[in-house]
């Protein structure tokens, strides 16, 4: 079903693609772009600065591209991108960027479940799953294919690598390197994320190289800077090692321990 409900308030200046459907009492502001075949539910509000891709489903009562909850924000121009095929759940709040980066980005095929909050300047990679009631602070980066389950809080400026799984109701206050499964309070490395490796058909060699690199990081008894050196020397041209070293290099809050 496509079409606009008669009670929806849709600005004439908004750029809306083909076959877009907009539900009752929803509001679309002026500076909004919506791609083809996107569905927007009831009572949702799409504020200025939203750039929504194709085939996106936004459910009821969502607040998309609202102004950041940042005391330094002074109404500067900024954007919020939602990639193609993403699903945005009920009562979610997605805030646009501040002048620090100018944009909040949600990738393609992302699922954001109900009551979740994505703050200003976040970068959410492709195919990330975000469970319900997950509260994500400003400037957080989550890389592709990671799974953040319900009730988790993420501190501002934290980074989560790709293929990470986090169980429900934990708190992220440090950076989580890619390919691992994390749990416990305080959050720590539990295992490699074999479940996602299976789901994404990782080759035996790739799993083995991940295993080799991470056993130096977490099981060699070395501290992180020594382990970094050892990984650099032992695996000079292993792509997994390179990814991990880059991740640690960029980490401003430190990475989680074992």
């Amino acid at each position: 079903m496509s079409g606009f409900h008669s009670t929806a308030l849709i600005s004439k200046n908004a750029k809306i693609g083909m076959n877009v459907s907009i539900g009752a009492y929803s509001i679309i502001y002026d500076d909004v772009e919506i791609g083809d075949n996107t569905v927007i539910g009831n009572n949702s509000v799409i504020y200025n600065g939203a750039r929504i891709g194709n085939n996106v489903r936004i459910l009821n009562f969502a607040s998309v591209a609202h102004i950041p909850q940042d005391k330094k924000f002074h109404n500067e121009y900024s954007l919020l991108y939602i990639g193609d095929n993403s699903i945005i759940g009920n009562f979610t709040t997605l805030h646009r960027g501040t002048e620090a980066t100018g944009k909040t980005v949600i990738g393609e095929n992302v699922i954001v479940s109900h009551y979740s909050h994505i703050a200003h300047d976040c970068l959410i990679g492709n195919s990330v799953y975000i469970g319900s009631m997950v509260q994500i602070g400003g400037h957080v980066e989550i890389d592709e294919f990671s799974v953040i389950k319900d009730f988790t809080q993420i501190h501002q400026f934290c980074r989560v690598g790709k293929y990470v799984t986090l169980e429900i109701s934990y708190k992220i206050t440090m950076d989580i390197p890619p390919y691992i499964y994390v749990s416990q309070k305080p959050l720590r490395f539990m295992d490699l994320n074999f479940e996602l490796f299976n789901n994404h058909n990782f080759s035996q060699e790739k799993v083995k190289s991940i295993n080799d690199v991470y056993s130096i990081l977490y099981f060699s008894g070395l501290n992180f800077s020594q382990a970094k050196e050892k990984i650099k020397n032992t695996f000079p041209d292993n792509p997994v090692a390179k990814e991990l070293l880059e991740f640690i290099e960029k980490s401003s809050r430190g990475i989680i321990g074992k």
Binding site: Y25, Q69, K71, F91, T93, Y115, H117, G137
Partner: protein, 258 residues
């Protein structure tokens, strides 16, 4: 000039100040007073008994002065008072007091972030920050300049003192004294909130006094009532020490341990 969107339902009996702006699909009940220059955006409902100050900003889907979540109550003529310059983000719920004529009170320049819940009979002082998804129980007293971190529930009847800061993702089940940081589970004293205090113009001498006061309470081997007597003896005329002593006197649930 008052601007009311044609789709908003605003009672004739509601008292709106100058330049008040009411967004689409918002409902304003009869017994409501809204101060000058306050902005209420879309989809909010302001129930009977609300008193909103000047220059407030109330965003999407907010519910103010709804009935308290107490099973016996089906009707009560109590109030919600919101001070000047307060900002209330998406989907915040503020409930009115549980007894006729009483107030749930929120101070000036308070920031209530998305999804936070303020229950019946709560008092929130000026310049407080209540971060995302903080759930505040009935009769809670939060004093000026306090900050409650994201997703932290506050048990009913708890108190949080002036300039205190509670970390995100913890649980407040006892009283948090003024000027301190609180974190960990179960919630503990984590030192003085010296960064916050310096930002607000406290001098080094004042911080030194507070350090000594909290050393007596938490690091002297005395129990709280002995420490209180010692503080009164050592700092007979110091206003900050008096603030701490008064807080301990008022505390019914006991203060957080070390």
């Amino acid at each position: 000039m008052v601007s009311i969107h044609p789709t908003a339902l605003v009672s004739n009996k509601a008292k709106l100040g100058e330049n008040v702006s009411i967004g689409p699909f918002t409902i304003i009940h009869d017994d409501v007073e809204i101060g000058d220059n306050t902005i209420i955006t879309s989809h909010s409902v302001i129930y009977d008994g609300t008193r909103i100050g000047k220059n407030c900003k109330i965003y999407q889907g907010v519910s103010i002065s709804h009935l308290p979540q107490i099973s016996k109550i089906s009707q009560v003529s109590s109030f919600v008072k919101i001070g000047d310059g307060t900002t209330i983000h998406e989907f915040v719920t503020i409930h009115k007091a549980s007894k006729d004529g009483n107030y749930t009170s929120i101070g000036n320049n308070v920031l209530l972030m998305a999804y936070s819940h303020i229950a019946h009979d709560v008092f929130i002082g000026d310049n407080c920050i209540i971060v995302n998804a903080v759930q505040i129980g009935g009769h809670v007293h939060i004093d000026d300049w306090a900050i409650i971190g994201g997703s932290t529930p506050v048990h009913q009847f708890c108190m949080v003192g002036k300039h205190a800061m509670v970390g995100g993702g913890f649980k407040v089940v006892k009283d948090v004294p003024p000027f301190v940081l609180a974190g960990e589970e179960p919630l503990k004293f984590n030192g003085l909130n010296s960064v916050g205090l310096r930002r607000r113009g406290f001098t080094s001498e004042q911080l030194e006094t507070l350090k000594k006061v909290y050393k007596l309470i938490y690091d002297s081997g005395l129990n709280v009532s002995q420490a209180k007597a010692k503080i009164i003896e050592d700092f007979p005329s110091d206003p900050l020490a008096k603030e701490v002593v008064d807080f301990i006197d008022k505390s019914k649930r006991g203060i957080i341990p070390r």
